[in-house]
């Protein structure tokens, strides 16, 4: 029995190409039926995400089956050739284990791919498209991913401005449910950060922008409230997180302005994310008790640190994966016959 793998991912092709290979949920059943109709193919799992479209199959006649898969993919994409095919078990197994562990992802160590793999496997299994070898392979891949995550720091830290902000907010407030956010200056990055915070349970978002219409539009989009820019400090009393990204040439949040507001702040911490250049918040504000000020440089530095840590962990992950690949190949040698 041989494990085969074919497909396309973010390393090989741009989004415009990848989307032509994409297999939507509504096409999955038909795709699996077509693959199962290939003579000699014992089982198949289709993984289709925004970064990859990959087919994993098992067969005792790998070469003709791979040719058929190649023809099938070409027919779906009006002649486009998928860039990678592996007819040997070893590279296919290793590739799947790396994918499951997040090593093959665009952001190394991201964990969403594991859920997507589980969904893909579950859909194939429900459709009766998997066999013993693929069942064993995917179960093993999920175990590898879990071990890699728990025994290395590959998933540690946040790697984007939005996720660093959410992580820091978590380290200040714990549960973000019920917290109140104010956006000063409705820029793209501040919008993204606010959206990230909303997905983590933030209760209220207040938007203040020099152009009130823009504030209103953003507030509508994220379910918040718009206030006139000149009145931002009057709406500030219960704010827990302040995101600043105005185009003002001088700091608009100064220590002098903030101190009287903080006296009414009832000891709650205040997390300020200053994404503006030049900065909107006076640096000395960070010296105030219970105030934590992060500018764009410090947030990007934290994101860089996390990426460096993840990169440094890759070698350790590869060692773990190689051990599991060897174990799985040993099992394959002892179970050469196909079975459902």
């Amino acid at each position: 029995m041989t494990i085969l793998c074919a497909g396309i991912n973010h390393r090989d092709a741009a989004l415009e190409i990848r989307e032509r290979f994409a297999i939507g949920n509504h096409e999955l059943k038909e795709t699996l039926n077509n693959l199962q109709a290939i003579e000699g193919l014992s089982g198949a799992v289709v993984v289709s995400t925004c970064n990859r479209v990959e087919l994993y199959a098992s067969s005792i006649n790998p070469t003709p089956v791979m040719d058929a898969i190649r023809r099938f993919l070409k027919s779906r994409t009006s002649g486009l050739e998928a860039p990678f095919y592996t007819e040997d078990s070893l590279p296919s197994v290793k590739h799947l284990f790396r994918v499951a562990s997040g090593l093959d992802s665009m952001v190394v160590g991201e964990t969403e791919i594991l859920g997507q793999l589980k969904q893909a496997y579950s859909a194939a299994a429900q459709h009766g498209a998997t066999n013993t070898h693929l069942n064993k392979l995917f179960q093993h891949a999920f175990r590898v991913a879990k071990q890699v995550r728990t025994e290395t720091s590959i998933t540690r830290g946040a790697t984007s401005v939005g996720s660093v902000a959410v992580d820091l907010a978590g380290k200040i407030f714990g549960d973000l449910g019920g917290r109140k956010v104010m956006i000063l200056g409705a820029g793209d990055t501040s919008e993204r950060v606010a959206r990230s915070l909303v997905t983590r349970g933030v209760r209220t978002v207040i938007v203040a922008n020099r152009t009130f219409d823009r504030a209103g539009a953003l507030a509508d989009q994220i379910g918040g409230l718009a206030v006139h820019f000149e009145h931002w400090h009057t709406a500030f009393d219960e704010v827990d997180i302040l995101i600043c990204s105005t185009a003002a040439p001088h700091p608009i949040v100064t220590r002098e302005k903030l101190e009287p507001i903080l006296r009414r702040h009832s000891e709650r911490p205040l997390f300020i994310i200053d994404l503006a250049v030049p900065r909107d918040v006076e640096a000395s504000v960070n010296e105030l008790e219970n105030v934590y000020l992060y500018d764009i440089d410090s947030i990007e530095e934290i994101a860089r640190q996390s990426l460096n840590i993840r990169q440094a962990e890759i070698a350790r992950c590869e060692v773990l994966i190689d051990t599991h690949v060897a174990n799985f190949m040993h099992w394959m040698r002892n179970h050469p016959n196909p079975s459902r």
Binding site: E151, R156, G157, K171, G174, P269, N286, N290, S298
Partner: protein
């Protein structure tokens, strides 16, 4: 047998401390389970030791400074297992282990009084007063450790550098809440203990009385000022840490003046 139990619990905690430092030093995942396991095992061994010594002394084994150190190590571990794990504060175990170890090592190796000398302890109210006071000190110890963690996390957040400690320490708001609640718990227990001492009609040395009263007043003042929002969480954390140091320094004095001459 008692000595073996103490050595075993000390060794378990030493190994756990070394493992924790190794895990944190190498940037690996946080050592939460190992701390809980080690402190759980130490608690069982210390409980067995206290029970055996209680059988020998025919009273609660807090009749010498050696006994008091072991009992406080036990009560700190008890409060960690009961309260600390309920708050699910990561790394609280990593901070509790060195304090419990310090108490155990001081008991085992420091030149302190080991002979059970307070015969007056047979009075149940006095035993209740003394043992509950030490359990209250265990809660204050945990409050001090939560305070230390608060100050460390505050420093990490102010530095704006990210790093392993920032990610492994609990949220600063949770640490502030735990700090205040542990002080409250300790204060309630200490108040009950003092009431029991008063009911027993025991004779108290003036120095012991004022040292204990200072501790009670300090914690009561912290709680009152917290309630009226005069004391910020950072200052509460600093004061609870300072109070813990005061307790550790004055514990031998209190014990010395508890001994009937």
């Amino acid at each position: 047998m008692q000595k073996l139990l103490l050595i075993a619990s000390t060794l378990i905690l030493l190994c756990n401390l070394a493992y924790t430092l190794y895990r944190l030093g190498s940037g690996r995942v946080r050592p939460g389970r190992s701390n809980l396991g080690a402190l759980g095992a130490a608690f069982i061994l210390l409980s067995a030791d206290l029970w055996l010594r209680g059988q020998v002394q025919r009273s609660c084994p807090i009749n010498s400074l050696f006994d008091v150190m072991i009992f406080m190590a036990w009560s700190t571990t008890l409060i960690y297992l009961l309260v600390g794990s309920a708050y699910r504060l990561s790394l609280l175990g990593a901070f509790t282990t060195p304090l419990v170890l310090l108490l155990l090592l001081t008991a085992e190796f420091a030149p302190i009084d080991r002979s059970p000398s307070i015969r007056a302890m047979r009075e149940p109210w006095i035993e209740f007063h003394a043992s509950l006071s030490l359990i209250a000190y265990g809660a204050f110890a945990l409050a001090g450790l939560a305070g230390a963690m608060y100050l460390l996390q505050d420093r990490q957040l102010k530095k704006r550098k990210g790093g392993m400690l920032l990610y492994n320490l609990p949220p600063i708001t949770d640490l502030g809440v735990a700090n205040t609640r542990l002080i409250c718990l300790g204060l309630i227990l200490l108040t009950i203990a003092f009431a029991a001492g008063f009911l027993s009609g025991m004779q108290v040395n003036t120095i012991k009385f004022w040292t204990s009263a200072t501790i009670w007043l300090a914690y009561a003042l912290i709680i009152v000022l917290r309630q009226v929002h005069t004391l910020a969480p950072r200052r509460t954390a600093t004061l609870s840490l300072a109070a813990l140091v005061f307790i550790l320094i004055t514990l031998p004095t209190i014990q010395h003046f508890s001994t009937p001459k």
